[in-house]
């Protein structure tokens, strides 16, 4: 039996109140009120598609042996690099084996379902036993557009394999149709969109049924053998109409999540699938389809193993963990869409020595430090001489992973002088419960959320963007936790 073996989600903490968009831009485009319900998720200034994919993947890998992963597929239309394997960076953050395949799936909103379908087909082929699939997007739309209202940021991840399957893969069907509802050329920052009526009538309304219909025909099934139908569509009314046309009533159609987070690009079908799985009962049958110059439709049946899956925050947990943002200019600023005075201090050089990044990739991307074989002291960074003054042995450290280790705040400050996109810059010493410490940036918090002794958990984040050279640098930051918990 082959299918999905685990899932994980990540939705950024910040939720922009759509009313705030309307308050700020409604004078310019009053029609956006029509889609101004609820909130849309948005990245903190230090998040992007890659950091979100890391978070969703870590959640997906709860209770799994990372050494079993034979391939990593990352889907996104907003990757930080056009030519540097983004899935490879993801693999490095997770400290996976080196003898694996990594692949980026991109250039279409259906890249998420593409990656999932491909992973299932590859595992079926037999050479690879377990594949991690992650999809993430942080799509940027022009202010005062409907798309700014519709888009959300987020990531979902799944593992695919043949052990402890929670949703058995029964088959998939794809159509490739160059229907250009929108496009983004390689030199462009924003999408170019065509008339919404045409996109609804000729795009979604025809292509989704073509894919789902084709799947049904291939597998010899009908909508009465489907309990949940998942596909993305911004247009709520059309979403229901298409489902109805396919014979699915309101209970079968999985909500498009507009009011709570917005549509998350390539991640969205997988996010809705994860949301469905976390509420699923054994025996439930699910159809999930993507949309983007065609469609992939996949059919799953939930197994008894769904009950044995270790707990995780999941979609519901992430949705609940939120902070409403009413400040629209701040949203624009975080997405680098508002030029602002950054002072001469921000002009400090930002070059990355790629040789250093290579030598220290496990340390920087994987948060791997060392543990002394002789005295047992965990330490970060891993150096040639053990830091314990009663040991100081040379070359006595083995690799030791810190990312999942619990830690606490030891010292902190909120610095108004340091250049920061979101002042004050909050940082301080953190110390790991099992030993080891370092000076860390705190994120996803205000100064009042930090106190000595508070537990923190580690999160992979963007550290800096070197605009002149087009490079993004990453490292791990500490997030203060509300209570001590796993």
């Amino acid at each position: 039996m082959i299918g999905i073996t685990s899932f994980g989600a990540y939705i950024p903490r910040l939720r922009l109140n759509r009313g705030a968009i309307f308050m700020n831009m409604g004078w310019y485009n009053p029609s956006i009120i029509a889609v101004a319900q609820g909130e849309r998720s948005c990245c903190n200034w230090d998040e992007d598609s890659l950091t979100m994919a890391v978070a969703a993947s870590r959640e997906c890998l709860t209770g799994l042996d990372r050494n079993q992963i034979d391939a990593v597929y990352l889907a996104s239309t907003t990757m930080p690099f056009s030519d540097r394997q983004n899935a490879g960076i993801l693999a490095t953050t997770l400290n996976l084996r080196e003898d694996i395949q990594t692949s980026d799936f991109t250039s279409s909103q259906k890249a998420g379902t593409d990656a999932l379908l491909t992973a299932l087909d590859v595992v079926t082929g037999g050479d690879k036993k377990t594949i991690l699939v992650a999809a993430a997007d942080t799509r940027t739309a022009k202010p005062a557009s409907s798309y700014e209202m519709w888009y959300g940021d987020g990531s979902a991840a799944m593992t695919v394999g043949d052990q402890d399957v929670i949703a058995e893969f029964k088959g998939g069907y794809s159509v490739a149709i160059d229907f250009v509802d929108h496009y983004r050329g390689t030199q462009n920052k924003f999408d170019y969109t065509w008339e919404e009526r045409w996109v609804r009538d000729e795009g979604y309304s025809k292509i989704i049924p073509q894919a789902v219909g084709g799947l049904f025909q291939k597998l010899g099934i009908g909508m009465d053998q489907v309990d949940k139908l998942i596909f993305p569509c911004y247009f709520k009314a059309e979403h229901r109409k298409i489902a109805k046309k396919l014979g699915a009533d309101a209970d079968k159609l999985v909500d498009n999540m507009h009011e709570v987070c917005g549509e998350m690009g390539t991640a969205h079908p997988l996010m809705m699938l994860a949301s469905t799985l976390e509420k699923a009962e054994p025996g439930q049958r699910i159809v999930v389809a993507g949309f983007g110059q065609g469609s992939d439709a996949l059919y799953f049946e939930v197994t008894e193993n769904i009950k044995k899956l270790p707990a995780r925050l999941g979609v519901a947990g992430h949705l609940a963990k939120k902070k409403t943002l009413d400040n629209y200019p701040k949203f624009l600023s975080f997405r680098d869409m508002a030029e602002k005075e950054m002072g001469i201090r921000s002009e400090a050089p930002t070059q990355t020595a790629l040789t250093v990044l290579w030598r220290k990739r496990k340390m920087i991307l994987g948060l791997v430090g060392g543990k002394c074989r002789d005295c047992g002291t965990p330490q970060f960074p891993k150096m040639d001489i053990c830091v314990n003054p009663n040991c100081n042995h040379v070359k006595s450290l083995d690799d030791y992973e810190f990312a999942d280790e619990p830690a606490k705040v030891m010292t902190y400050t909120g610095d108004m002088l340091a250049f920061s996109i979101d002042p004050p810059a909050i940082y301080g010493m953190i110390e790991f419960d099992g030993g080891g410490r370092f000076l860390a940036d705190f994120t996803d918090c205000e100064l009042d959320d930090v106190s000595v002794g508070k537990p923190v958990s580690m999160s992979f984040r963007r550290r800096y963007t070197d605009k002149a050279r087009g490079f993004t640098g990453y490292f791990w930051k500490a997030i203060p936790q509300a209570e001590a918990s796993a």
Partner: protein, 402 residues
Amino acid sequence: MATGIRDKVAIIGMGCTRFGERWESGAEELLVEAFTECIADAGIEKKDIQAAWLGTSVDQVNVGGSALPLSTSLRLPYIPVTRVENYCATGTEAFRGACYAVASGAYDICLAQGVEKLKDTGYGGLPSGGSSSGSLSWLYWPNATAPGSFAQLASAYMARYNVAADDLKRAIGHVSVKSHANGVNNPKAHLRKPVSLEQVLAAPMIAWPLGLFDCCGVSDGSACAIVTTPEIAKDLGKKDLISVKALQLALSSGEELSFNEWRGDHFVTTDKASTKAYAEAGIKNPKDEISMMEVHDCFSITELVTYEDLHISERGQAWKDALDGFYDADGKVPCQIDGGLKCFGHPIGASGLRMIYEMYLQLLGRAGDRQLKDPKFGLTHNLGGFPFQNVAAISIIGRYGA
């Protein structure tokens, strides 16, 4: 068997520029200004100087590399000149080089000079190095400023000793009030106005809990010393010799940042360096024997915890001692009698030597309105880096033979 530096080196001349926003002067001019005073004080000729040490720290906005800026600005006649750097302890580092040179017998008379021209950056505060501060640290260190790094001492100190935030804020506020009161009497200081505790407490926050008046400014300046052996000093006709009693450094091993013992509330290095310095100087009871001190008050909290690291205040009590006036000009151990970094600002390479300059003037009875009554030993504490990784440099000077 080594016997330390005590009474092997005499200071025969010192010079110090006015510190401040010296828009009209570059490092080249500041070097000459301090040196002119120093050589006149020493009563020797330039050609008598056999070797020199230049201390300067921030290359990128200052004089650039090598020791050539000193040899060319002062027109030193093809003598050995060494450039030294140890973050903010650079001034003391230059002094050490010159002292060890004469103590070793390799040279008779040496010059130690520190300079920093920081006001060409275009903005307040220390310059930000970005990726030029270290290719590996650029990849993972937080974008920490000096205020933010030292501010962390406060959260740790309050947690460890259960000190209320208000009490600590008043104690560190008093540290700055006291220094400003001293700076009023110093024509070479940058800031010469007194401040009240109310002003300090109401000042805008820079890095919690440090406000504007808890942070020293950045300024331009130079200071220097000419040293020789006590024998040569006497031959030159010097009376009332001022000699070096101790010179000690301690540098972090990396334990504060990576090991599991330090709690973030004090300086491991200052504790160790001062213990060695007192032993070297033959001082058994620093609280009674140290007459005056200049400590590295880049931030008020730094000075506060340093009182404990120098073994003068008990652990956890420095905040009370500060509020009691123990370190005021009329207190038991006057600290920053010249106004400190707080009133002078901190031209990095010069500060360590400016501290020694004040102790020297005090010992010779030349401190004017700031003169303390009959001081015996003066201690300087010059610290470079951050609480979690740093260089602590201590010097003790006093009357030769005392």
